[in-house]
């Protein structure tokens, strides 16, 4: 019997493939990445390179250990994407070993031990980010004011190497808090928001992206455009980003309306931190999010609510990574309980009698 006869039923296939999908996501990230690199200069570029290389190396080692084709496995581009997303969520002037440890952790512990691409339960990049934050809080919470490439304050190539690979201690001159961190500090001292967040600071600058923060969270507009492009190219579906953004928006509006001095305004929530990146590029990771559209909406709502809770009451100024990883843990249960209704069956899986439908009509 010729086994080839059984291959590839049906005998027509859509033209999509995993590398194409990953390629699209990478492409959509490119503008924001370039912007981030320009904004933070050579050190940011170095960190990006180190992180991506660590991921690729980790992937190669895992594939080799698993006895799979290293070339084929690397070609799918998922390790590259993990590296990119991880780098984008790091402080841009973090030392090289942050990127290296993070990248290796993401691929080996986040994915390799589960059996490689597609088998992992948690989002590898966010797992690594959470791990780094928990293990190296100092390096992971030293944020930088923008030092755009050709401006006077930008480090030269050699200085860039010194920042990433040498000993460099943050000085108050170059570092500054992100908006969310600032709010947290101020609230910690019982200052009302109206004093601590002056109006002009609010959304305009953040939206244009002239703010300190991680590599990939500054250019909210570029991220949003990339995300919309992904939606249009059908690389992602609308359920997760929309559910997540709407949840944050609703919660933020409600609390802000109740007590504007304690709770930041919704626009600030939407446009600061890495909410956009999280909603369009991270929570949408197909491997670790629910399969079915209903489940995806539940997942998005969960992510949004957790982000808001952690940002507002938790111990960390930003909660995307934790929210995503926590909801990843819930994904199998969501997949278990939120399934599409089967044709001809009720939601509970019993055969669905005809009369009911005519009533509904």
């Amino acid at each position: 019997m010729n086994p080839a006869t059984f291959a590839n039923i049906p005998h027509a296939h859509s033209q999509d493939s995993v590398p194409k999908l990953m390629g699209r996501v990478l492409l959509a990230l490119l503008p924001a990445t370039l912007y981030g690199v320009v904004l933070f200069g050579w050190p940011a570029f170095n960190l990006l390179a180190v992180t991506v290389l660590a991921c690729l190396l980790g992937e190669a080692v895992c594939l080799w250990l698993a006895g799979r084709s290293v070339r084929l496995g690397m070609l799918d581009g998922s390790a590259l994407l993990t590296g990119m997303l991880l780098a984008l969520s790091l402080p841009p002037w973090a030392p090289w070993w942050i990127g290296a440890i993070g990248g290796a952790f993401a691929i080996v512990v986040g994915k390799g031990v589960f059996g490689g691409t597609g088998q992992n339960v948690f989002n590898p990049a966010m797992l690594a980010r959470v791990m780094l934050l928990v293990s190296f809080p100092v390096q992971m919470t030293t944020w930088l004011d923008p030092h755009p490439w050709l401006s006077g304050s930008a480090p030269s190539f050699l200085e860039g190497l010194q920042v990433t690979f040498g000993h460099w201690a943050a000085t108050d001159g170059v570092t500054g808090p992100t908006i969310l961190g600032h709010i947290r500090t101020e609230l910690g001292m019982n200052h009302a928001l109206s004093q601590s967040v002056p109006g002009h600071y609010q959304s305009a600058l953040a939206a244009v992206g002239w703010t300190g923060g991680s590599l990939g969270e500054t250019a909210e507009i570029l991220i949003l455009l990339g995300g919309l492009w992904l939606l249009w190219r059908r690389a992602i579906t609308w359920q997760i980003p929309v559910a997540m953004l709407v949840t944050v928006l609703l919660l933020a509006s409600g609390f802000h309306w109740a007590n504007p001095e304690r709770f930041a305004d919704p626009l600030l929530h939407l446009l600061s931190g890495s909410l956009m990146l999280g909603a369009f590029f991270i929570a949408t990771d197909p491997v670790t999010s629910p399969l079915a559209p209903v489940g995806q909406i539940v997942f998005g709502i969960g992510c949004g609510a957790l982000v808001y809770i952690i940002r507002t009451w938790g111990g960390y100024p930003e909660g995307i990574a934790f929210a995503v990883v926590l909801m990843n843990a819930a994904t199998p249960l969501i997949d278990h309980y939120f399934r599409p209704r089967i044709y001809g069956r009720t939601w509970r899986g019993e055969s669905r009698p005809i009369e009911k439908k005519s009533d509904e009509n």
């Binding site: 006869t5 590839n8 039923i9 005998h11 493939s17 399969l291 005809i354 009509n361």
Partner: protein, 491 residues
């Protein structure tokens, strides 16, 4: 009826232009025809002819075994060359029971009584005649049509849906049939309406066949009970369940029948066959087959006798190029791969495709599933194909049944949509055959248990008989002992 939607589905490129623009041509009768005894759902037909017997065109070769079975008729006149085994149109390439007919070239019809006006007949009699003509569903399910008509009448179906969707890529046989023989189809529909006693008929045609829509509209104008509706071109719009959902918003209950919704679905080819059977007394001995694919020199639609080999059809269409990588019976979505071209056309064969590697998509090895959910989105039944495949891989049979593998109609939408080329349908087929095997083993075990019990019972009986015999002997002996005390050494 208002517009509704059906869930899921995919948009494979149609490729219908390859064959749709040429009129139907008649395939010359090949020298030998191979007629498998089971071309329908239900028990195989029982041969009523012997090897060497001469038969005329339309003569009964094998009779229906039971109510759900269908008779088989000679597609042409000739001699029965063999009743044996021949390669089945099945991917395994295993043989099945087949009657071989050696054509004599005369194509001599059997004597036919003139047909009475079908509308004068009792509805049940119409259905009986449909059954006697060996008509089975031409839409692919091969279910004996007479049974469907009878059941539908008993279920008081109000609407007959004539399925002209033809949603499979490449296929254009229904399209050509509707374009060229619309009046005949309309007549068949009217006869079926009579057989079912339904109030109206809806002829549903995908909107990528504007000419067929037009000709059918023209042909149906004569009968106000018939309505022609255009369907969106989306695979699998032609599946009965999805068609019903699109037309009415109703869903066939799981485990129930389509007729539970008050609708009966039949293929246009079936309507045409009913017309031929009831008006002219012609049994089902030929059908329209689309011969297409990039490896076929001149794709076209042929009216071919049942039993002609795929090779005969392909040869008539100019032969197959060397770059043909796969032969299919049926469309690319649901068709069966053929082990070789020497397999016969059966009643349900709507197409023979010879596809090139390029058409099949680049031959990539599967990548890991990334749980993207495209298969879930694509499934018109609302199933979780990826979970079913995972369960099949781990051979978790109770798990896969809980995921309702039974509701899957193997439409292939999920596997079409999968960017990782996960062989979802092979996993389902594997699981199905394993489950079937389990059921077989169970019933076999039960059967064996019965046999063993019977054997035990037989032994017990024999023992008893022996014991009784011995007892009698002993009794006799004893009585004899009374008579003659020294007759001991008898035992």
């Amino acid at each position: 009826m208002s517009r509704h939607v059906f869930w899921g589905g995919v948009h494979p490129p149609g490729q219908k232009h390859l064959s749709a623009e040429r009129p139907i041509e008649l395939l010359p009768i090949p020298a030998r025809l191979y007629l498998p005894l089971q071309q329908h759902a239900g028990g195989p037909a029982l041969p009523v002819v012997t090897v060497g017997q001469r038969v005329s065109k339309g003569e009964l070769l094998a009779k229906a075994q039971s109510a759900t079975s269908a008779p088989l008729h000679a597609p042409t006149s000739g001699t029965i060359a063999a009743i044996g085994e021949f390669t089945a149109p099945h991917p395994s390439g295993l043989p099945m029971a087949t009657i071989t007919l050696e054509a004599d070239g005369a194509d001599q019809w059997i004597e036919r009584e003139p047909s009475p006006d079908p509308f004068d007949l009792e509805p049940a009699e119409v259905a009986r005649r449909v059954g006697a003509a060996g008509i089975v569903g031409m839409g692919g399910a091969n279910f004996p049509s007479a049974v469907k008509l009878d059941k539908a009448r008993q279920a008081k179906v109000h609407t007959l849906v004539i399925n002209g969707a033809e949603c499979e890529p490449y296929m254009s046989c229904d399209d050509r049939l509707m374009r060229e023989r619309a009046a005949e189809i309309a007549d068949g529909v009217a006869i079926m309406l009579h057989a079912v006693q339904a109030a109206r008929a809806v002829i549903a045609i995908e909107d990528n066949k504007p000419e067929a829509l037009q000709t059918m509209r023209d042909a149906c104008r004569v009968d106000e009970r018939m309505e022609v509706r255009s369907l969106p071109s989306r695979y699998p719009a032609g599946s009965a369940k999805q068609l019903i959902q699109w037309l009415t918003g109703l869903e066939t209950p799981a485990g129930g029948r389509g007729t539970d919704t008050g609708l009966l679905v039949h293929n246009v080819g079936t309507a045409y066959a009913v017309h031929r059977a009831l008006r002219y007394g012609q049994p089902l001995i030929s059908r329209i087959v689309t011969v297409s694919g990039g490896a076929v020199a001149e794709p076209r639609n042929l009216e071919a006798p049942i039993g002609a080999l795929a090779a005969d059809l392909l040869a008539y269409c100019g032969g197959v190029d060397t770059d043909c990588t796969r032969l299919l019976m049926g469309g690319p979505m649901m068709g069966q791969p053929l082990p070789c071209a020497e397999t016969p056309v059966v009643k349900g064969t709507n197409g023979i495709l010879a596809l090139t590697a390029a058409e099949l998509g680049e031959q990539r090895s599967p990548e890991p599933c990334i749980r993207c959910g495209r298969c879930v989105e694509a499934c018109p039944m609302g199933l979780l194909p990826v979970e079913m495949a995972n369960s099949a891989r781990q051979e978790d049979w109770s798990g896969i049944q809980a995921l309702k593998l039974n509701d899957c109609m193997a439409c292939g939408s999920c596997a079409y949509a999968c960017p990782s080329r996960i062989p979802l349908l092979q996993y389902f087929a594997f699981a199905r055959s394993q489950l079937a095997e389990q059921r077989r083993q169970e019933s076999k075990a039960q059967h064996i248990r019965q046999l063993m019990e019977q054997r035990q019972a037989r032994f017990a009986r024999e023992e008893r008989v022996k014991a009784e015999a011995a007892a009698q002997r002993r009794a006799a002996k004893q009585s004899r002992v009374v008579v003659t005390a020294d007759d001991d050494d008898d035992d």
